[in-house]
Symmetry: D2
Amino acid sequence: MSATVHVFGGAGFAGAQLAALVDAHPYFTLGAITARGDAGRRLVDLYPQYRVTDALVAPDPALARAGDFAAVCYPHAAASELVAQLVDAGVRVVDVSADHRLRDAALYPEWYGFTHARPELLGEAVYGLPEAYRDRIRDARLVANPGCYPTAALLALLPLAGRLADVVIDAKSGVSGAGKTPTDAVHFSSVTENVTPYKVLSHRHEPEIAQELGVDVTFTPHLVPADRGELASCYARLTDAPATQDDLFALYRAHYDGHPFVEIVERPPGMRAVQHTNYAQICPLLDARRGRVIAFGAIDNIVKGASGQALQNLNLMAGRPETEGLA
Amino acid sequence: MSATVHVFGGAGFAGAQLAALVDAHPYFTLGAITARGDAGRRLVDLYPQYRVTDALVAPDPALARAGDFAAVCYPHAAASELVAQLVDAGVRVVDVSADHRLRDAALYPEWYGFTHARPELLGEAVYGLPEAYRDRIRDARLVANPGCYPTAALLALLPLAGRLADVVIDAKSGVSGAGKTPTDAVHFSSVTENVTPYKVLSHRHEPEIAQELGVDVTFTPHLVPADRGELASCYARLTDAPATQDDLFALYRAHYDGHPFVEIVERPPGMRAVQHTNYAQICPLLDARRGRVIAFGAIDNIVKGASGQALQNLNLMAGRPETEGLA
Amino acid sequence: MSATVHVFGGAGFAGAQLAALVDAHPYFTLGAITARGDAGRRLVDLYPQYRVTDALVAPDPALARAGDFAAVCYPHAAASELVAQLVDAGVRVVDVSADHRLRDAALYPEWYGFTHARPELLGEAVYGLPEAYRDRIRDARLVANPGCYPTAALLALLPLAGRLADVVIDAKSGVSGAGKTPTDAVHFSSVTENVTPYKVLSHRHEPEIAQELGVDVTFTPHLVPADRGELASCYARLTDAPATQDDLFALYRAHYDGHPFVEIVERPPGMRAVQHTNYAQICPLLDARRGRVIAFGAIDNIVKGASGQALQNLNLMAGRPETEGLA
Amino acid sequence: MSATVHVFGGAGFAGAQLAALVDAHPYFTLGAITARGDAGRRLVDLYPQYRVTDALVAPDPALARAGDFAAVCYPHAAASELVAQLVDAGVRVVDVSADHRLRDAALYPEWYGFTHARPELLGEAVYGLPEAYRDRIRDARLVANPGCYPTAALLALLPLAGRLADVVIDAKSGVSGAGKTPTDAVHFSSVTENVTPYKVLSHRHEPEIAQELGVDVTFTPHLVPADRGELASCYARLTDAPATQDDLFALYRAHYDGHPFVEIVERPPGMRAVQHTNYAQICPLLDARRGRVIAFGAIDNIVKGASGQALQNLNLMAGRPETEGLA
């Protein structure tokens, strides 16, 4: 018994790792891995560490058939059309791009610079954070895989949703989050021994976080000299704060009870504790003196922030154990 | 014409670099460099990059004579006694330790775990941030050199002092800030590919920042995989905010007019832009939508955050140009 | 069906990872994990990334019973006594230390500074490089797990053994090879942006490499700013060289046919291709113009260079598939 | 009194730093800084750390006048024409490219893929290693600034020239050596936690090293996860070896007596000791057991390996102290 998963956009960091995860999965069968520029090359030639010898093929929606699964790892704006074609053809899709994350179609022109061609799919798409939408993901035709920063920030703050105010999210990401395309900004000589804030007040993950938290946020991403990993340091005031640190821990533990990839830790996590895993480590601390909560969320931006979460969603969609192929 | 500067505690990162800066200074003469454990070794054997061949000697206050200058680069609690002896002997002192930074003696037992033996010196000591206390530093017998985090955070926020509220300071520091002593936390294998919050809600630089800003702050330091450099990302609400981003830049430029080591920049600075220099790059951004200011401050934690600032203070105390030996 | 593996010295980098590998192994059961200083703490508190919640216990040979397996991950000189006790008690041992790697007892005083108390065990111990001694390892009571540098260098050169001359091995290692103890040399600020030759002409892995190659070698290790990984760049003249590059590749492929962890690659490997795996990537290149072979060997120093290779040996000793728990 | 130095190709790593060095030089005046793609931008916008506010201008040989100096920091093949135009116009030139380093014009088609248009300039050009050709550089119209690897390797081996055999040079370079253009190979995610041999047996610095040593060499460069710095680990047999290690040190000290930028050190140097300086640290070790010398040479690849050495040459050409603006 098996089901086929196709990876559209398999030459990028997230797509390649997802292909490797699917290839090693006990239930899923790896179908096509597509890539535009690198079609014809083997995945192992681009990513020797994954040891996947399948050749990349040119993208074509017809590679996937009704009943198959597909993950679309395209840049934003580029995914929308393919996703629609696949969904229309009866393929169940996890869209790893940003093209179906925002429910309000009006946000796409404002934040992403394009008008969404199929806004009804925005209504149908389920936001693919299993810790928030697990049941709806199981039956979804289309899952919008969250951004990496939103994954870290939301897991850190969702237990407090509804009573948050004055939210500041100061996030630090490894360079892989910027993608595989070489630019001045990701040149080793630009990054090493450096920490740089970027896209301050203009990063596209801001409306996604705000949508899911239901509150406006100040979101400041920083590039740090690491490959993998992301840490969101979140600051907020609460309208109804837990009385003690223990109460705060208890609230978080209860909230994430039964969610296998969330680890509530009592000391602020470093990125290393979750690198190359699908785990999120979350540490909420009570700043009683100033009436604040500081909640830290650490993930691997390419795994829990992209490919691993996509597989977690695929597991749910296929009725498989949520952790299969991810432990 | 010359004056002698002795460096007490010259084997640590800050003391060693200060010795090197003094050694290359056109006016100052390098006197004794002291070290407990490493006495007898040459500084060049510990720090080949500084090419200072003087031997380290055992510490003794009598090495410095009335009229000399001394910089005391000891751990906190250890500096207080020596500083008092030197001041009493007519030596003008820059205390690079934390032992004279807090004006309220009651804060020492609370934050540093010791009772200050000479509280009257806390009243006399001038807080050695030249951008705030330049005139008082010139005549001081005792200058309390600021901590590295306070330097970055204060330079970022002082132009707004008096109208700040809800201050959050999320700071990132290179590992050299943790000092030269090898520990698990500074092992390369602990630090590389990692970002770790530490001493959250308990870091000793918090009361120092609060003292100078005149307002309570939430301060969260993070260790990043870099040697040198520090970035403070500061978030605050203003009781009386500038109307526009241009007004905000203008306010900062006016505030730091005539201060040679502060650079107001229009894009958030990376740490690399100031590494191995005494410059601070400051970038204030208006988050108009949420009524906040985000102010970034980047420094080299060992130069502007310690040794370079000490030399800047020594220049002022000796009536020399503020930038001498630092450009 | 199962067998128990005890890890003596489980607080170090190799021991901890071995404990984690055994813990996740489908056949082996993890017995005691011992540690002197850290007894009582859980392994997860020292190494959050491994998620092994077992508590460390004080070392005691009686923890292991006849028929059990034990891996001894002690510093050299410290392992010898415990290994002998275990072997005498009928425990089958993989000694991850250097104490049974050299067959000539006279080399221990010369290179390691101690006289071996049980030289007859040197004769019995099988050198635990499965690619060279697989059959003898299956039945061994005592396996001497190779050093990390010898693993990389031997895998690169063994196919040419018997016709090698003028061997130079220029090796580069990540910092984890220096072990967990914090020292000046492994301080992040010493390592970052640095490459340093160390123990030139005096590194203890030299006689081990020479023993297995049957020829004298010049061996120069370098510390590089990475956590994991090792690259041996090996230069040699051949008394009977293959005529062409293709012949050289064919010779290597034939030599390692049936060895699942050796990958012969046609482009010189980077360390990243094998990090966190038990694979070795080997690339032999013919320098026809100068009558040399340049053979590169890349491994993860803690996995194939220590813990993974130990598990590979345990698999063989227990009659399990060589790759079990390592793929 | 002053002389003007123009920097052609000032947007690259070497050109930009050279412009900054010239800008801060007590004698030289910085003339034009040219750049094709970045003309119109200020140098400080590309390299904030240099704080040079001059605008880059489009390249034009007429920017330099007879009697001026020019440094040409172009890619190989691209420099030749401009260098000839400048020399013809009476401008004294340091060619930082490779276009005038090889005296044998036949090597250009073979190694660089182009036919040299002005082979007579190859005869006239002085190889700009001041430690070898100081006197000829003083009067040269055209100086060919050495490659970074040749600088490190030659300084390590030149004291033994004439009696070298079996030379192997295993070199490690920081990423800045690959230049400013973003590529997959210099992406932070490719470089961090990695060491990679590259251009094995085909790197263009090989014939340059062989030319100056007068002996064939096996040269293997490796990319290491650092920005700046280069270490050449050189292995050779000697036809007439010094009897003792002390003799070897004495030979090197005598050879470099009076050369201010060469430091003979008794322990193998790390790259950090010379980073951001024009110094070379050289350590020759006698491998008496195997009749070899191992000579280490460490430099900053962009300073002593390019821009600093160019300024050292300009100082000599202008009759200035060799160390001016470089100490």
